[in-house]
Point group: C2
Chain length 301, copies 2
């Protein structure tokens, strides 16, 4: 069990810090007692697109894992970063449930700031889990997919980021042991499938995911189907917009991480998401069930 | 004056549509009377990162341009897309004020769906304006910057998007006539500077913008300063995370667009944003003033 080490020697020179998008000021980076008191027990950082879904997850964990309430003292949850106006962070027992918005850039900011938060709060070996939504490829809507390798839109299994004007490529893969541990949390009598597969993170929901229904589209249905087939050959089971950066940053920093997504549709059957509100919530809950069991399993170790 | 034409022949085959992230269903794409009634008068679509800032902008326009209230009938504003849980959209007179979240991917989804909205609502010649925040390069904090050319993180003046696994490059520039019209809305006796310049859109707020204070940083201060100097040579006046996609998509679709950003700091002086809440609001209002005058000017034409 070790405190989180980051790969930035400049941080050692900073006596104060300001997590701008979370609106959290760190008065003493070396010994922030209030941060350690508030966040020091955190072992799991769950993340998903919307604040509404993350609040649902926090409530699910409270009700099913018998954690203490979310910080208000009256059973209600408080968004701890509301004053930042960008992300929502709820705390339930040793779990943070955080919204990351849409896409690589939005989630990247949250990750950089949460990573510094767990470092300053001296959290021990935290595990970051994205609990996301996605579009499936050749799998039934409602399938839970645990990501192994993440691909970018160029069908390359790496994250390519421009740093100081030059491309830096980083391996984009999740820890296989954690993948398998999460898979082992699926039960035979679940009324849904849970599988391990690869994930493609597109920069664009429409043209980037080969949809035909965006404001711009310059390819034919046959071209789209050919691309989806190329994805299938690489065992890509779903499209979303974050995994390639998420896996690469965490792998680069040697921080434990996993991704568990629900699929809302099978892209081989169409582009538009047609699940009802009720179906959507039931599907989302499937990912909560798997991640909830995984948290219980790890806490018992 | 013409209705918005998009570049997607597949849309002509769709009798219904669903703007998923806005949670707006279109029952009849050819003649959506309710959409035309609600949004048909829209002439300006203003966009910014947070819902809170966009609500402030809507209130500013109501109070300063004498527009009618925001749809509730009692002077309050309603977030018209609240049920989508991702973006906020306020309407004030002929203006929509919409939050786009952080980064290219998040804003791209909003744009695709708003572009289809103005098409189905038969809006005439709408103008899209991003009213953003940014970090300046060699300009005083609080300067208003109107973007001319947008650069990606590789210092290339184009947007590079992976479509069907291949890179598609699109020119990333805003209409110069609109830039100059907006600049002409600055007054000599404003207590702030308004300038035209180029903008770099980074994928990452930390490593992508040469900051030294992220969770990961593998370059030295000298490397950072050299990169900022490379940017200055290209007349890049500010860093943000959206302009390169925004300008390219609108240019590709031949839809009018502009970007007006406030700067919160000068990156030559540091990485952390240190403005007080009060200063921040005063700076944000500067962009509102310029965009408000531009809207008044266009409505009088």
């Amino acid at each position: 069990m070790a405190a989180t080490k980051l790969k930035n020697p400049h941080l050692d020179q900073m006596t104060t810090d300001y997590l701008y998008h979370l609106n959290i000021a760190i008065g003493d980076t070396k010994n922030s007692k209030s941060l350690q008191k508030q966040f020091g027990d955190v072992k799991f950082i769950c993340m998903g697109g919307t604040g509404q879904r993350m609040l649902m997850l926090a409530k699910y964990l409270r009700d099913n894992l018998q954690f203490q309430d979310g910080g208000s003292g009256n059973g209600d949850f408080i968004n701890l970063t509301e004053s930042g106006h960008r992300y929502a962070v709820y705390k339930i027992g040793p779990v943070l449930c955080c919204s990351h918005g849409v896409g690589i850039s939005s989630m990247s900011i949250l990750l950089h700031e949460l990573l510094k938060l767990v470092k300053y709060a001296k959290c021990k070996d935290p595990i970051f889990v994205r609990v996301g939504s996605s579009g499936g490829i050749g799998v039934n809507a409602g399938t839970v997919i645990i990501t192994k390798d993440a691909y970018n839109g160029h069908l390359r299994n790496q994250y390519e980021l421009a740093i100081l004007g030059r491309t830096v490529s980083r391996p984009a893969k999740f820890d296989e042991t954690i993948c398998k541990e999460i898979l082992s949390c699926a039960n035979k009598d679940d009324n849904f499938e849970t599988i391990i597969g690869n994930t493609l993170s597109a920069e664009c929901f429409y043209e980037g995911q080969a949809r035909l229904d965006g404001a711009s589209c310059e390819y034919r249905n046959e071209d789209k189907l050919k691309f989806l087939e190329e994805c299938r050959v690489k065992d890509i089971k779903n499209f979303e917009m974050e995994a390639v950066m998420f896996s690469a940053l965490m792998h680069h920093l040697d921080v434990k991480a996993a991704e568990v997504c629900i699929t809302f549709l099978d892209r081989l059957e169409g582009d538009q998401i047609k699940v009802t509100k009720q179906q959507k919530e039931e599907f989302e809950k499937r990912a909560f069930i798997i991640v909830g069991r995984y948290i219980q399993y790890k806490l018992k170790q």
